[in-house]
Assembly symmetry: D2
């Protein structure tokens, strides 16, 4: 399969560039009978949308999704679902000045090397705009997972540059433009972003995502492990440079007696595994953390070369996010939903006859 398809049974194939007429995707393999309409998808697009705050790029677009197929009388038919979002606010002239040079840290150089030339308008296919279709497709997966399996997926901004945020209030994450899980830090975040923008620079971020209610048994080792597919899906998001499951890199310095999650008849006593053991979901929360690099499109001048190999200085003006991580929360949620959905169908295909013996979850410290 070529590179723009995700999944094996529940698949998402996307197309579209930042400044083309439209972006779209095909969701294939969705079980029939799911009630779905544009109204189920649009709110998730709103959360992702550029322009929700002055801290993300000022592109003004409604991102209005249209369902073109696969739904009849309000329910999925089991046939492929075509989704389309038209681009309405392309300002391509902004990009004329970078068409003949490579922004350092950007995909400009590698696209040119791979394909021989590139659509330089707004980053073309390499633009983060592409993730809009991930969120749209993810909305369908999330609805199925929530309604049929009781799975809920929640992400949040865990770190912005030097500022580490604690998950104090997950229920308020969607109420602020940073997806901060700590409402008491909003002013601090705002101030940090104002200074960053003033400096014409950008910064990295960490986003965490948690899926609760995931049934045990999802994952197809030895290669197509649930955590391997999660790592794949997360690393496929623009700007992601690292992925952790559960304790992640902290497990490097853990002892086995500390890391392993002990089991009692009432549940697991901890969740260092992040909900995945041997590549298969355990029924505990699936816990994922990703690192996003600072965007490369900044005003601070940088050294680079042009198409002829001559040295040039690059300054990126135009609309750009000083922190792409600020928009990554809904995208990471969508990717986790897509992976879980695909693995649920795959597991059901092979193992529909097997009945899980247990339904253990993680016991919280307080103990419910």
């Amino acid at each position: 399969m070529s590179g723009n398809t995700l999944g094996k049974l529940f698949t998402v194939t996307t197309f579209g560039e930042s400044h083309g007429p439209a972006l779209g995707c095909i969701v294939d393999g969705c079980p029939p009978g799911l009630e779905i309409s544009e109204a189920d998808i649009q709110p998730e697009l709103e959360r992702r949308r550029t322009g929700t705050s002055r801290h993300t790029s000022q592109r003004k677009e409604p991102d209005q999704v249209k369902i073109l197929s696969g739904v009849f009388e309000g329910r999925t038919t089991g046939t492929p679902i075509g989704l389309l979002i038209e681009n309405t606010d392309q300002r391509s002239r902004d990009y004329e000045k970078i068409k003949d040079r490579f922004r350092p840290g950007h995909a400009d150089y590698t696209y040119d090397q791979k394909y021989g030339f590139r659509d330089y308008r707004g980053g073309g296919r390499s633009s983060a705009r592409e993730t809009v279709m991930r969120v749209a497709a993810g909305a369908i997966a999330r609805k199925y997972l929530r309604e049929r399996l009781g799975v809920s997926i929640q992400g949040y901004l865990a770190q912005l540059g030097p500022l580490v945020l604690e998950p104090k209030s997950l229920s308020t994450v969607y109420d602020n433009p940073f997806f901060s899980p700590d409402p008491s830090r909003l002013e601090e975040l705002e101030e940090y972003m104002i200074n960053l923008r003033r400096d014409g620079d950008s910064v990295g971020a960490r986003v965490n995502v948690i899926a609760s209610g995931v049934p045990a048994g999802l994952g197809e080792p030895v290669f197509d492990r649930l955590d391997a597919d999660i790592a794949f899906a997360m690393m496929s998001i623009n700007a992601v440079k690292g992925v952790e499951i559960g304790a992640g890199f902290a497990s490097v310095s853990q002892k086995g007696s500390e890391h392993r999650d002990e089991i009692t008849p009432q549940g697991f006593l901890s969740n260092n595994a992040g909900g995945v053991l041997g590549g298969i979901s355990s029924g505990q929360d699936v816990v994922v953390s990703i690192a996003l690099k600072p965007t490369s499109s900044i005003i601070v001048p940088g050294r680079s070369i042009d198409l002829d190999g001559n040295p040039v200085e690059v300054v990126t003006t135009g609309r750009h996010d000083p922190c792409v991580g600020l928009r990554a929360t809904p995208i990471a949620e969508a990717m986790l939903a897509l992976v879980l959905m695909d693995h649920y169908l795959r597991h059901r295909g092979q193992n529909a006859d097997v009945t899980s013996k247990f339904a253990l979850k993680t016991l919280l410290p307080g103990g419910d």
Copy 2:
């Protein structure tokens, strides 16, 4: 495709359990004409082999690989290569005592939940023994990459529990049982492992892998990015809980002006990208780091449940590694080779007509 196949054009499909009669794999899609024999594969198996030091499990097996097909008169024919390694030192009676209970932190529980029952002998399919075929298949990919493209792949132990190792002497990595890149730290490592074993505990590790000479252009965005497939392949290794490319999680607190790798006509001035921009190789070194959790099979007693859900105490005796990370270096090298090989063929399939314009590498600080 079911879960035991890796890759799309250069594919590896594996089978085999820890205590079955044999393990094997099929390498499909290898270009014809590559000179290959068991002698090319065996040394890499030796490096991975259990029993190379007293710090890894004392299973004594030659891991003798046989090429069963796909090679004629010393060269690959383009048809599938069947590889087989017989198990000769199974001591299944060691495992009778854990057959009715789940080791905490182990795949015992999830395999049982997924499939309804499990081959409990030595972990069955979830055993790290499975990785022997990854190394065997990887040896073929490495040879092609090295001979045809000039790609070299080098891994090393970057951290053992609390001990961080600097890459002072990569040429000596294979000369010590820890794959340590710093020969001056060997005694310290040895002492740490002796204490760990004495305590009946285990510890995590970090392993780094670097591929040099990778041509620019490999990777198929937006999903099948080179880094996404690397993350997938690495996370599919037993015990891996985290993957980083380039600066990885350090990029969270980096500024854009710091992270981006500036370009001059002579080369890149840094490599925070880890050799991948926009999901496509840049020609710089591909730099990967992985976190391995401490193994769950330890002597320190732990709480768990049995098959009927009753509470039990689990103590794992038998042959087990106190640090699976010690053996992970050759495995991580193999996985990186397999991903690069697959992406090279995929890129060539789609873009054989395109000529790369540049061949920039990272300029070293000293400046060659």
Copy 3:
């Protein structure tokens, strides 16, 4: 992959129903640099279009294709190509009368059994209207094959019910609404269709397709043979019940001394193989023949059951082709182009280093 994707490196994923707002597809894996525009695709859609003659269904639609992505400044960029065709002439009320019953010989029954319910408007996803995207995608493949490899693909109607047509004038096939290769038989065909329509019945057809200039070496045995993928692609066309390569079923009664195509330094002396030996193209013409059943939507009353299992009589009025085979020629050509394109890229991916030793073609009887 779910069921709506064709190919492995050059892939086509389609969506859309007969009476939904639009049909579309994503062509992924097209090599960069191919000059393409809507003007290259539209003529092939015209050839397929319903309403080209009074013998096919009278739906009046322009089938205007839009390229939504993957093309920049007139050339493919190597990124996915999104294609869209809006439905503009749906008359869904025609189908109210069959919504609660199954047309005998139609997919009504099986879609309902598989998915629990169905989009009954115009056959929904099972409508032959779906093939419009195959033709659109095929146009891109054909252009690449023709311009880069010199491959030409030509189909024709070989049989209409009892009327067998000889390939007397392939150059005139596109000049008549039957795709007849024998201009002298047009009146006869017309008369046959008039009588058939008058009787309210339908009839089957045979279509042949030939690809010339195919390079030797395409096909990936033992499963993904070129002929196996051709059989797959052809049988996936609505109404196709049989596929032959070369001598096809005639080879059942042939002797080996008769069937084998002898070779001379000047070329092959015959082409019973149909251009494929051992699943790999030989460089001879690839010759394919398919059988299309008579459409099931006819006026002649037939016995069936309704959604509750009660016996009903079914009469299909509305717009229907009395011979779906009449429109199958461009579709079969497109499918052959798509398979050849995918196999060309796959072969190039694995075997780009190999140089073909010979370039033998079939010697024609006269001997050029």
Copy 4:
């Protein structure tokens, strides 16, 4: 995936050449809990085995299969099943004389063109010996289909050269070396083969296969239709040049009123569809027919060229079947089983929630 893997959820990947040390395969995705042992597979291998009669090639090999993984305590574990058959009767010296030339009608030429050189011993990978692993893997699928779903699969020789055989006694097919369904024709078949062998020639054959008890709903249109995957699987068998489903090519001259299978509350009144409508199984018998060409390895001299392009005369001595179709019945049965098994799991993955409303079968003429 490269070309040696069949299926998507229930996959079979094979390796091995005619004269290598062994052939093998990996069956991945088999549901856990199926009782299986070598004793379930061996009888199907015996039926396929060369040397069962003097009319097939005289290679004497036990074809003893070993299960190397995926089965524990007599039941499948859900992990990949490794199967191995060692070659014990290679007589490679027979092939020295054809190593530098291409047998006309054989894959010699195309393998050489594709890969640059070939394993000429016994046809290497292109040998029909490869099908032994298809039969072994198929035996597992058949057992699951039979025991869990009540599906039975029965093939037979429908035509040998000019001799057409009627299915008079399907229960006796396995009792004669021709797989003839008409015991009264055995002498005639024997005499025909004796004459053919005396002439040093070969002949084609037609084989039919029928699957009964197939549940409605299998098949994933618009591309991965059940009939499309059957066509693929059948055409991937050595020497197959044509595939029909149901009425097949006879439907070309049928009227719609004749072809369509009318439905009553008691069942379908005919089965021209061959059990597949719109690419989805209807619950009727799945009926497949294939054409096998005469083998190209014959004693009658033929014109060809050598590796340098010079004209040569080719006479193939050694062990060869004068009619490969005689051995095709168990192979075709196996392929049909593999396709049905894969589609059953795929359907279950996507549509496990859907309950079929009807369970109609074909009413036999007599009317049971």
